[in-house]
């Protein structure tokens, strides 16, 4: 399975310019709201038309502005799970799912596949319910059933968990993923949650302002986000303006410290990022004296806010986050950070 996307679309002052290719099982598009990730998905599905570019799925051109190709969504065999599920409100669950089976002309087969899908998604007993009578999790499963039963070649998932409560979300994610795996087709998922992206996606494209900033394996992208915006989107709390100070050394201007990195420092370095979890009191490298500023208690973690001794007063405090059971009896005078955790951002 292969998907190639290279599209441009102007919408008022916003320009979408998305280009990526993927052969992975689940590809994530991670970005803040309004960055163009849903629009990208809609262009792949064909319900929105890009101004120019091309989209190729498994060797078949879905869209190519140069050759005047624009397959209607009905002919793309691409499934779309909408953020709020888009279940037809006037139809029962059963009728909604049958909409995905309209191409199946044999009545017995249609009924059999309807039963199978209802069972697979634990919707048996809810056939005659209307969408308004379903809980969030049931609505998600009904929308998933309707999409899967139409046997799409590619699944597009638009923030599939954002309409659910957080506890329900954690509960449903593993179930959702095993369903996707058993269906065995490629999926592209839009999300603004770095946790969701990390859990569910094997490949990640980070989007900002209509552009893809960084694409790669999920773990690689988190380990080396590459840019300040990508570092923030992957959850990096501590970011400072920085300049190159040596082959492996950077000077963090906001913090007034020099840090050693594991990678050679690029000449066009703009900033440096330190993840809140990466600090260690015992690590000898990059060990620098700190002043404690404040502390925030979370249910299972502590967040300690600190400043480097040489830090400018105007620069915000840094975050150190660790599990509650690892809180030291006395706060250390200095904190270290391993060189591989110094994120070089350009």
């Amino acid at each position: 399975m292969n998907l190639f996307v290279d599209i441009r679309k102007r919408l008022g002052s916003f320009t979408l310019n998305a280009s990526f290719k993927t052969a992975d099982a689940v590809t994530g598009l991670l970005g803040a709201s309004g960055c163009g990730k849903s629009m990208t998905l809609k262009c792949i599905a064909g319900v929105e038309k890009p101004d120019e570019g091309w989209i190729v799925l498994d060797g078949e051109t879905l869209f190519d502005s140069a050759r005047g190709i624009n397959l209607p969504p009905q002919k793309r065999q691409v499934g779309y799970l909408f953020q709020h599920y888009a279940l037809f409100p006037h139809m029962t669950v059963e009728k909604n799912i049958l909409c995905g089976l309209h191409a199946e002309k044999d009545k017995a087969t249609r009924q059999r596949r309807l039963r199978e899908t209802l069972e697979m998604l634990q919707l048996t007993g809810l056939e005659k319910h209307r969408p308004a009578q379903l809980s969030g999790g049931q609505a998600q499963r009904a929308a998933l059933a309707r999409m899967l039963v139409s046997q799409p070649r590619l699944l597009l998932l638009d923030e599939p968990f954002s309409a659910l409560d957080s506890h329900l979300r954690d509960q449903l994610q593993p179930q959702f993923m095993s369903l996707l795996r058993s269906y065995g087709r490629q999926a592209v998922m839009v999300t603004h949650s770095r946790d969701e992206a990390y859990h569910l996606c094997t490949r990640l494209c980070i989007m900002e302002d209509g552009r893809i900033l960084r694409a790669g394996g999920t773990k690689e992208v988190f380990a080396a986000p590459g840019s300040e915006a990508a570092a923030r989107l992957t959850g990096c709390k501590n970011i400072s303006r920085a300049v190159k100070a040596g082959a492996y050394t950077v000077e963090a201007l906001d913090w007034g410290v020099c840090l050693t990195a594991a990678q050679p420092v690029p000449d066009n370095l703009k900033a440096v990022g330190l993840r809140a979890h990466a600090f260690q009191p015992q690590v000898p490298s990059n060990r620098l004296p700190v002043l404690w500023a404040d502390e925030l208690e979370e249910p299972f973690e502590w967040i300690l806010l600190f400043r480097y001794q040489s830090q400018a007063a105007s620069a915000p405090a840094l975050w150190w986050r660790f599990p509650k059971d690892r809180k030291p009896a006395a706060l250390p005078d200095s904190l270290g950070i391993a060189p591989e955790h110094v994120l070089l951002l350009t």
Binding site: V47, K75, H90, H102, R130, R146
Partner: protein, 223 residues
């Protein structure tokens, strides 16, 4: 009592509501998709019959279909005459009732969640199916309200109708023109009978509306 006005009013209202249903929905559907400036102009033109006095609408229709006007003459040469005929009443009722359906349908289409249509497309449903089986049913409450309003307006239309088709007993008389005519000629008793007929029709329409609404609520519909 001569029941012709009842029959004539009902057929005029029924035929005009069918015309208005399709033209109003088509106009509303396309108006929603127009750029804002064009939409404003079109909206004004299509709503005009609602705000103009019906006699002014009748005046314009006479300008258009009068037997000495180009369009009137052209139609007459193929045997169609809207002046002083009952089917002229269909034209006046339709023109006056059109804005009511157009505006309520447009409001309903504007509130329609476009992702429902997009979901239908990605499921491979034809655009025609999506329009008739998803978009219209999802907007049915607004459209239904528009149909009721337009039907009531068409049934009660007086001003433009009396201008274009006049009052000829047994040929163009409708309930509204009959009530006026009977009152004018001093036949208060028969005028009163026709008022009762009119009240009965209105009550029947309102009853139907509330029954349909109750049935929809019972069915757990959400619009």
């Amino acid at each position: 009592m001569d029941w012709y006005p009842l029959w004539n009013s009902l057929r005029i209202a029924a035929i005009s509501i069918v015309l208005v249903f399709f033209t109003g929905i088509a106009a509303a559907y396309y108006a929603v998709r127009l750029p804002r400036a064009l939409k404003g102009v079109l909206d004004m033109i299509l709503t005009l019959p609602l705000v103009l006095p019906p006699t002014v609408v009748g005046y314009f229709l006479l300008l258009l279909f009068g037997s000495r006007r180009p369009l009137g003459m052209a139609l007459e040469s193929v045997g169609i005459k809207f002046v002083m005929t009952w089917y002229g009443g269909v034209i006046t009722a339709a023109v006056v009732a059109f804005p009511l359906l157009y505006r309520t349908a447009r409001g309903a289409f504007e509130a329609f969640d476009e992702t429902l249509a997009q979901a239908g497309q990605t499921l491979g449903l034809s655009n025609c199916y999506i329009f008739w089986r998803i978009r219209l049913p999802a907007c049915r409450q607004g459209i239904f309200a528009g149909v009721v309003l337009a039907f009531a307006r068409a049934l009660g239309e007086y001003g433009a109708t009396s201008m274009l088709i006049g009052y000829t007993p047994g040929r163009t008389a409708t309930i509204s023109t009959t009530v006026y005519q009977l009152w004018r000629t001093g036949d208060e008793l028969h005028a009163f009978y026709w008022v009762l007929v009119n009240l009965a029709i209105s009550a029947a329409v309102l009853l139907t509306v509330s029954l349909l609404e109750r049935r929809q609520r019972k069915g757990g519909h959400v619009g």
